[in-house]
Symmetry: C2
Amino acid sequence: MTAPATVAVVQLAPRLLDLDANVELSVHAIETARERGADVIVLPELCLSGYMFETAAEVRSCAITAAHPVFARWAAALEGAPGLVVGGFAERSGADVHISAALVDASGVRAVYRKTHLWNREKRFFAPGTELPPVLDTPFGRVSVLICYDLEFPEMARSAALRGADLITVPTNWALDQRPYGDEPPQVMLARAAARTNHVYVACADRAGRERDQDFTGGSAIIDTAGWVLSLPRADQMAVAELSLSTARERQLSGVNHVFADRRPELYTDIEVRQAG
Amino acid sequence: MTAPATVAVVQLAPRLLDLDANVELSVHAIETARERGADVIVLPELCLSGYMFETAAEVRSCAITAAHPVFARWAAALEGAPGLVVGGFAERSGADVHISAALVDASGVRAVYRKTHLWNREKRFFAPGTELPPVLDTPFGRVSVLICYDLEFPEMARSAALRGADLITVPTNWALDQRPYGDEPPQVMLARAAARTNHVYVACADRAGRERDQDFTGGSAIIDTAGWVLSLPRADQMAVAELSLSTARERQLSGVNHVFADRRPELYTDIEVRQAG
């Protein structure tokens, strides 16, 4: 058993194209979450830049590398205790820009993941990543990350869980979608299915508010390993839950059933195959 | 575009171990669904035998082959118009018994699928199937089938959809599970995620009632390609919806996004790999 972790997701509303303001916003969010006891803190996708870019020049004006001082500030905000921040940023890499997430502890940037599935106009401005997300060992358990549209591909959560993730963090910018009934956003339903089918914790940090003509869902949620929502954001736009992350590894469902051992990988050979004609 | 199909799922309560009574029950259910205009009719898992077996002898007392006259009766009930019945039975095959689903049209048994993922005590009495489910061409569209616990493995719905299914039928016996909030059974949430992530229709025919000490969920549902429930059973235990099945093939989500083309199969190589150590 790992130590229980207090997990917080913070539903920020960054200022589009205002990197300096968003750096302050992100540091303030981390400090506020720390005051509430958070060990693992998840911030939204592209939380240092905003999302509704109209030109490549706008994107590049906010694109930074993992060496940018903001990440040292995130690390400093964690000083004195174990902790992890996962937050999204536009990552400059040569001629390319990626939609990335930094995983930062008190020692600095531990890993960067570049989103591998790009939604809509993201394809105009960003290059897709070419590697699976990391699974990071922390004092609280093993933490992975998916970004937004990645979650709509069940292969991605499956992969992270098979590679040992206890918690999948999801920095996201969920554009407001149709909801013919009920309060639950469809994206949260997919996050719950990812949690339940893999017996893994999922923590989604979504955007709130509106940017240019785009409304966001405000669908942040912390989800347990059976796929139930444990915590939604309160008035302060933060959802918090205490999780014993390593309990995700207890994947025996009955005396003879196990989430992974019951898989039939010899039958799943067409998962790697593209669409049938 | 294929012709619109009226899809019906019938939430039967078979009599445990009473094959003859269940044959009549199944034929009556098909006739009743036909009277309501159904083209595709889904019946529960093991609807000719019941589920809560205690001995192998009980299982064998209800196990039949695909040559059993019940399937000719199902075919006869469809006579005069195109139609398809998908229903579950205990299938005898040499020394083995499988949890199978027959896909029957007016010409007779078109295909049989043997459940590949067995739940709990099913492992005591049944042998798992070794082949993926068929995807059957019908005048209404392409129909596949998963049985109960199969649905908890996202690889299975993905495979059926990649192989061209427009509709995944799900004969099931969902044991009543914990539901900490809300009305939606967790298994229906997984069926909705399978529908949405694959842009495929899903029609689940669950059991109602109680058998020995087991309560069932009564979670039958017809689900659209965006993962929303279109129809739940009414007082007559039947849910009905008219679906243009081939619209499932319209998988372009935006000008540049496609449910399948956006996949990154070159990254999904560990789906075939067993659990990490």
